[in-house]
């Protein structure tokens, strides 16, 4: 290198370091502001997640994807069973997400009943990947304060963890609008202990197919499902694994559902399938082909709660006799 080149390199690195320092300071300042906004989120997914892992108190916890969020009316559970209920469902999530949340919740609180809504593609690779991203967006803000979350991140998405460790604001990627403006302004629907009703229907045209014959189960998702069932059993919590109603082309089973059934059989747990229950296979009960609307979810919740009640009366009446 010539003297002139060395001079240029020196100038470059000097300015580059100045930029990095400025970037680091800005990152920490904005990151701290976002951290505060995150911890004080008024409602929505962030609040639901935070409640599930930091101050859970309810008797019944519901887990699942958006089909759980919009399909399980917590008010019906509380009114009919006289047990408090919280819907921990999360859009685009699958068993990877649910198992992680369950583990965190059990460190602080043991509910009496856990309801897990599964989809016919619950254990596929695609679901697992989506769920990983959702889980990452939720837990990255906690990695500095909670080692168990850092461990989950290390196991499931080490690259994301590394980025979040370098940049404080990276943990809030894609959340800035929710945090800056507040979830309420973008979502007119109420959040009722995690249950978010959606109204009306937008279904038009032919009934679509939901399943894909090329689907294969993801071994990690399968392992996580088994872990979920085992954890619930070990903690003596009553478990209900459900397929809630769908408005898609009829199918008998899928590789995910077969795997779920076989694991549940091993643990002597039932699988309740309302997927194509004729009582609910009506367009007017659905917002879209996969999600019940507010009318449908109330009807379905009533039916499910009635079935749970019968089951509890028969097999575990203690739960109903001693609400917390």
């Amino acid at each position: 290198m010539t003297k002139e080149e060395v001079k240029h390199v020196g100038k470059f690195f000097k300015k580059f370091i100045i930029l990095l320092v400025l970037l680091f300071i800005t990152d920490r300042i904005i990151g701290t502001l976002l951290e505060n906004a995150y911890k004080n989120a008024p409602q929505g997914d962030i609040k639901t997640f935070a409640h599930s892992i930091t101050d859970p108190t309810e008797d019944i916890f519901i887990y699942g994807s958006s089909r759980a969020v919009h399909g399980y009316d917590t008010r019906v559970f509380t009114d009919s069973l006289a047990l408090s209920c919280f819907n921990s469902g999360r859009e685009n999530s699958n068993i990877l997400y649910h198992t992680s949340i369950l583990d965190e919740m059990l460190k602080k609180h043991k509910p009496k009943v856990v309801v897990l809504d599964v989809s016919a593609r619950e254990l596929t690779w695609r679901s697992a990947e989506n769920s990983k991203m959702v889980l990452a967006s939720m837990i990255l803000p906690y990695i500095h304060s909670d080692t168990s979350f850092a461990n989950i991140a290390r196991q499931l998405f080490p690259e994301e963890l590394m980025k979040a460790q370098v940049s404080k604001i990276y943990a809030y990627n894609s959340m800035v609008l929710s945090l800056a403006v507040g979830k309420r302004k973008f979502n007119k629907d109420k959040n009722l202990n995690g249950y978010v009703p959606i109204h009306g229907t937008k279904i038009t045209g032919k009934i679509p197919s939901f399943t894909d014959e090329s689907d294969q189960t993801d071994s990690f998702a399968k392992q996580k499902f088994e872990e979920f069932v085992r954890t619930v059993k070990e903690n003596n919590i009553r478990l209900y694994v459900i397929q809630s109603p769908l408005y898609v082309k009829h199918f008998n089973t899928t590789v995910s559902l077969d795997t779920i059934r076989s694991i549940l059989n091993r643990y002597n747990e039932p699988f309740w399938d309302y997927g194509f229950d004729t009582a609910f296979y009506k367009k007017e009960l659905f917002y879209d082909n996969l999600h019940l609307n507010s009318v449908g979810s109330e009807l379905f919740s009533k039916k499910l709660v009635s079935d749970i009640k019968s089951d509890l009366e028969k097999n575990d009446p203690e739960i109903l006799n001693h609400p917390q």
Binding site: M1, E5, F12, E91, E159, I169, S174, T204
Partner: protein
Amino acid sequence: MLFNSLDFVGFFFIITALFFILPHKYRWLLLLMASCYFYMDFIPIYILVLGFTIVVDYFAGIFIEKSAGAKRKWFLRMSIVANVGILGFFKYFNFVNDNITFFLKLFHFTNPITDLSFILPIGLSFHTFQAMSYTIEVYRGNQKAERNFGIYALYVMFYPQLVAGPIERPQNIIHQFYEPKKFNYEKAVSGLKIVLWGYFKKLVVADRISIYVNAVYNNPYHHSGKTLFVATILFWVQIYCDFSGYSDIAIGTAKVMGYDLMQNFKRPILGKSVAEKWNRWHISLYSWFRDYVYTPLSRGARRNKTKLLSYIVVIFLLSGLWHGANWTFIIWGAFSGLSVVVERLYKDKVKPQKYIPKIWMIIFGTIISFMVTALSCLFFRALNVKDALHIVKSIVTMKKGPLFKGSPPINFYYYIIAAALLIIVELFQEYLPQVKLINNKSVVIRYAGYIIILMVILLIGVFNGSQFIYFQF
């Protein structure tokens, strides 16, 4: 290796540092080895395909230069046949075979030849065209045949532009490999600024919008006319940012090492007419078609307007086919070519500039060009012709239904913000170039600009390492 991966960031810094540490005479070797590693990171075995075309064109160049008359032409033809043959085999074999199968089925025959099962070598269309431009330029006498095999291989394989262009010309790049490059602060910073803007386009705009576009275009039958319309408009912005983002990163990384690659995009979404839009879009490809196909064809048809216009359509059809072996690309090419021809005929016959003030010509021209291109992109993105026609019908009839906003709906605002940010910046660059952010003379504004862009990338960029759309070509 994807530009939007941490691996690439590390790779780039290591190679650039080694490049300036090494003496000039070894740098080409470093770049060649780095390019091989970069390419083999995708599917290693395909380096053999690339190697084959490099060997063929290297010797073809020398033989063309040494020969005269018909022999010279014969060597050029041989080189073109080898290049097009490889491209045709890998890219079009299954397409042609599928169409033969379809045709035979109409007459109740079965096709005995089955489709081949392989993945298309990454960037095949790009480096094949770059290789062909070398032999053509040697044939035309504009470029001396390269005797150093390593330098020629580097011309085809130079890693910044190996897999998605710009498709370089030998006159522009080969001599640069011989020039001793010195680390230059201004050039390095200028290159990194281009890289930064490229990442912004890719991560904040293209990959963000792709979430919405994929959700809609992968299920077009479930969406309303207005959703499909919004997705179509957004796809135009997405593909522009995806591809030009790649080009910016390629141009910027090369610039840091002192190499100047050709400009590939000039804000095409602000093209004031359909024709102007194409002059600003994928400049290296369309100038390739212009120089090596259109110009030779049109030489014999100087006064025949019909022929000249039909050649324009031919060029666009070829460019459609270049993009992919699918009828959607062919329709996209035909639509694009016809829209240029219709616009030219309209301007020649009606002469709207006589009646409409210039400012309105610019505004209308920009909007019409934007909409026409967005509509043509519909064919580019649709999975098949049936889907494309359904989407067109749904948009034209404004098929009823709510506007899909994504899941969760708040994400919709990210798509809009991403597209709006891009358009605002490009409007400034186009019409108020004196207003600068990262090129501002004030150090405060310049650094604020860097930090704002980096913060926006960290806050709303998508870091899922998705591929660049043009890698498939």
